[in-house]
């Protein structure tokens, strides 16, 4: 039992949230249960879902990379719920559990990731583990691989997902 119970689908009044739940079935991230928790505040559910969906499924950074970052963050934040769910699109793009395990542990030494991907995974890892290391030199290195727009896309993605995962961690929601 979680610390805040998800609203039961039959009790949801807002049409827009019902549509969001159909979307969640299609994409799987951020997951239906998370939306039903946020639905205690319908406007939050609608707007945060919109932000999460846009940050995850649109833009100019690889979706597969973002999924690796999202799951990596979930281990840093301690959010068991987010650890347990997978983006259907990323899986279709070939993301494996081995990729995920490496992104969450030894990515710096793993040849499966390019230097570009390693920078992004370092960025998300350091943001909440050791943010002082994300200095001007770190950003200069990132600009060797990404445009400023892409760096903002990754940074904003990291911020949004990590912050909400920290909240979700305290709810103690299971993805099963």
């Amino acid at each position: 039992m979680s610390n805040i119970e998800p609203i039961k689908e039959k009790n949801l009044q807002e049409t827009q949230i019902k549509e969001i739940l159909l979307d969640c079935e299609k994409y799987n991230i951020p997951g239906e249960l998370f939306i039903r928790i946020l639905s205690h505040v319908p406007s939050y559910a609608e707007n945060l879902y919109d932000a999460m969906k846009r940050s995850f499924y649109s833009g100019n950074v690889s979706h597969k990379l973002k999924e690796l970052i999202r799951i990596q963050l979930s281990f840093i934040s301690g959010d068991v719920y987010s650890q347990g769910i997978r983006s259907k699109i990323a899986l279709e793009e070939g993301l494996s559990e081995e990729d995920i395990e490496s992104a969450c542990s030894n990515f710096e030494n793993d040849e499966r990731f390019s230097e570009k991907e390693k920078w992004a995974l370092s960025y998300s890892y350091l943001m909440y583990k050791d943010p002082k290391k994300i200095d001007s030199s770190f950003y200069e290195k990132g600009k060797q691989f990404y445009t400023e727009a892409q760096i903002m896309e990754i940074g904003s993605f990291v911020a949004l997902h990590y912050g909400l995962q920290v909240f979700m961690r305290t709810i103690s929601l299971s993805s099963s």
Binding site: V41, M127, G155, V158, A159, Y162, F167, T170, S172
Partner: protein, 128 residues
Amino acid sequence: MRSASAKQMGLTEEILDDGIENYEKSENFTKKEKLALLYSELMASNPEKIDCNFYKKLGEFFSEEEIVELGAFIGFNIGYHTFFGTLDFYPMFSPDGKLVDQNESRRIYGDRPLSHLKGAIKRSKEIN
């Protein structure tokens, strides 16, 4: 930066400083407000301490809707404040509302821009 609405509702720099450094003992805050401030502090620093008992305590003062509102708000801000901190940019305005460039803003707000009373207000007057 400060919320204009919050200032209009009576939030002062003194209350802000108290809320950040001394809220547990302060008479400026109700038990309800103190619990909300503790919720936010723990979510940022020790989320493992926010357990079912803590949520039960929150439930004594807040509805589930309010708790979700607070929790999501806090999480969102934790995420973004940390990200913004890495970008190394400062407020566009001095504490008294004058537009300043980034170098001036860095000088006014310093490395720890949290409290306006601990230097920022004085330093903003020095550039005038």
